[in-house]
């Protein structure tokens, strides 16, 4: 059986953990650069604020309705996500982090207590330890677990846990589910299906295998099997111990922060290019700087940063590398060697982008153009400004909450 655990209104819930005054009132979290709404509290949903609503259009309404607005604080959300993952790991060794707020779990051996009780215990442990409410959907396949999760979320009387463990429940669920809400059915595919009169998920499963394969390729057929209760999608495990590094020894020693920062940026961009070449993304960036190893006391500084979303963008990787660098750089030390290492590598197309569409997709296009121009006109003709001019790319974050769990100066104060 597969379970899908996900955080309810995850980003808003993370903000509420540290700020109880936000409970029972409308709260929204905006995407990178404060562009549009990407997470809403139930109260905000009731006001009719839609997902993806542009922030500038709603500025006056937010004031009028007394909506609390936050910029996305990915260090905070990433940390809370890791906490939940650590707790879930105690319930099964087979776990896939599908996105920052969703995990697939596989239960191979049925525990002595019922799966329903097991899921409820798991959910309440997550709630107690992290104060984040979650929903759990359990079913024989990943696609059905996704459906069960949706039902758990839509019907509060179920207590946030729902199992599809009988044929009767499966059919009832698929009769209820709109075709456009099926996991993996995009806007274009759902339009094509609707044109054929298919409105509910159950009708999709009634089509013949040959027809589905012909019209919607093998991906569509896999989805059909999954909805029929035949498991074909397995857990995607994060490949461990794979990393890409760019490290250099300098011609002489350098103590100049700006010079070193520029080098780190260039190394980071280099790693990002390597990632894109093999169509991968990374989820962790490490930076090291060493002084001359023949010094009496060699200085070796190292810092690793986990990124809350997989990326292979020059901009993102350079930004995190610069951040790591500024945390380890010591004035007065003459450095001889430096490097950037990226790890947590996963195939590009395996990751889900929806929550970060705005940021990732835009970067992907920019990166694509940069790669093409650079291969046409010679390496690194086109660079990030920080590589040559040390202009740090700055995000618009006007409503950023403190980094309660990752920065000393931001930790929660209690009276």
């Amino acid at each position: 059986m597969y379970a899908l655990v996900d955080g309810n209104n995850f980003y808003v819930s993370c903000e509420r953990v540290f700020n109880p005054t936000l409970r029972n009132r409308p709260v929204v979290v905006l995407s990178n650069n404060d562009g549009c709404v990407i997470s809403r509290s139930d109260e905000a949903k009731k006001l009719g604020i839609s997902m993806g609503a542009p922030a500038f259009e709603y500025e006056n309404k937010f004031k009028e309705w007394d909506v609390k607005v936050f910029s996305s604080n990915y260090s905070l959300y990433g940390d809370m996500s890791n906490r939940i993952y650590r707790i879930l790991q105690n319930y099964t060794p087979d776990i896939e982090v599908y996105s920052i707020d969703e995990c697939f779990l596989k239960f191979n051996h049925l525990p002595h207590i019922s799966l329903d009780d097991y899921a409820r215990k798991m959910r309440s442990e997550v709630l107690k330890k992290t104060l984040i409410p979650t929903c759990v959907g359990i079913a024989p396949t990943k696609a059905l677990a996704k459906v069960a999760n949706r039902i758990a979320k839509k019907f509060p009387q179920l207590g946030a846990v729902f199992l599809i463990d009988t044929e009767e429940k499966r059919i009832k669920a698929l009769k209820w589910l709109e075709i456009e809400d099926v996991w993996g059915i995009g806007r274009r595919m759902s339009k094509r299906l609707k044109d054929k009169g298919i409105r509910k998920a159950i009708q999709f499963t009634e089509l013949s295998d040959e027809y589905v394969r012909r019209e919607f390729s093998v991906t569509g057929l896999r989805l059909k099997k999954e909805l029929e209760g035949i498991s074909v999608l397995k857990l995607e495990e994060i490949q461990a111990k794979k990393q890409i590094a760019t490290t250099r020894s300098f011609d002489k020693t350098y103590a100049d922060k700006d010079y070193l920062k520029e080098r780190i940026t260039t190394f980071a961009v280099n790693c990002a290019q390597k990632l894109r070449k093999q169509q991968s993304t990374c989820q962790s960036i490490s930076v090291f700087i060493h002084s001359n190893r023949f010094d009496v006391k060699q200085e070796r500084h190292f810092r690793s940063i986990t990124i809350p979303y997989p990326t292979n963008s020059d901009i993102e990787i350079a930004r995190f590398a610069q951040k790591a660098f500024s945390l380890i750089f010591k004035p007065g030390v003459y450095y001889k060697k430096a490097g950037v290492i990226v790890s947590g590598i996963a195939p590009e197309n395996e990751r889900q982008y929806s929550l970060f569409e705005e940021e990732s997709v835009k970067h992907r296009d920019i990166m694509h153009v940069m790669d093409r121009l650079n291969s046409k006109y010679g390496t690194s003709k086109l660079k990030l400004a920080s590589q040559a001019l040390d202009k740090t790319w700055k995000m618009r974050q006007e409503h950023l909450s403190p980094n309660y769990t990752t920065k000393w100066k931001d930790i929660l104060e209690v009276r």
Partner: protein, 159 residues
Amino acid sequence: MERYFRSEMMKFIKFDETLEFLPIKTEGNKKYVVVREGVNAGFPSPAEDFLNDRISLDECYLSKPEATFINRVKGQSMYPEYHENDLLIVRSDYEVQHGDDVVVSINRSAYTLKRYDKIQSKLYAINPNYAHSVNITEEDEVILLGVVDALVRNRKRKK
């Protein structure tokens, strides 16, 4: 220094001509051997086999990172046991017991530090000058961030 490959192991000749077999590791098409730096010069340090990691405070106080929050004390409400700017290690996995100090929000207030009196079912500030205590009834919404597990206080002024 001479090195040559055998089937599975690598022969590594040390300065004093004793042989050491090191396992060959593989990663894709790459085969390599982990050689510790400085092994081929001088005598090995007698402490080498006894090297342990340094004492780590994280090991003691952050052993359950998924259920630990760090907070900073502000104000005097829990003086003299707690001082302004003390750091609190707060555990969200503990069950609250009588006499525990807890970080709580009462009816959606900001989080405060209070002592829990189970017998009288109340939360109170221990500083007599802050003599307000809160009786908890059924209707009250109490959100518990966690129970104070340890306290870190700087004795020297830090910048």
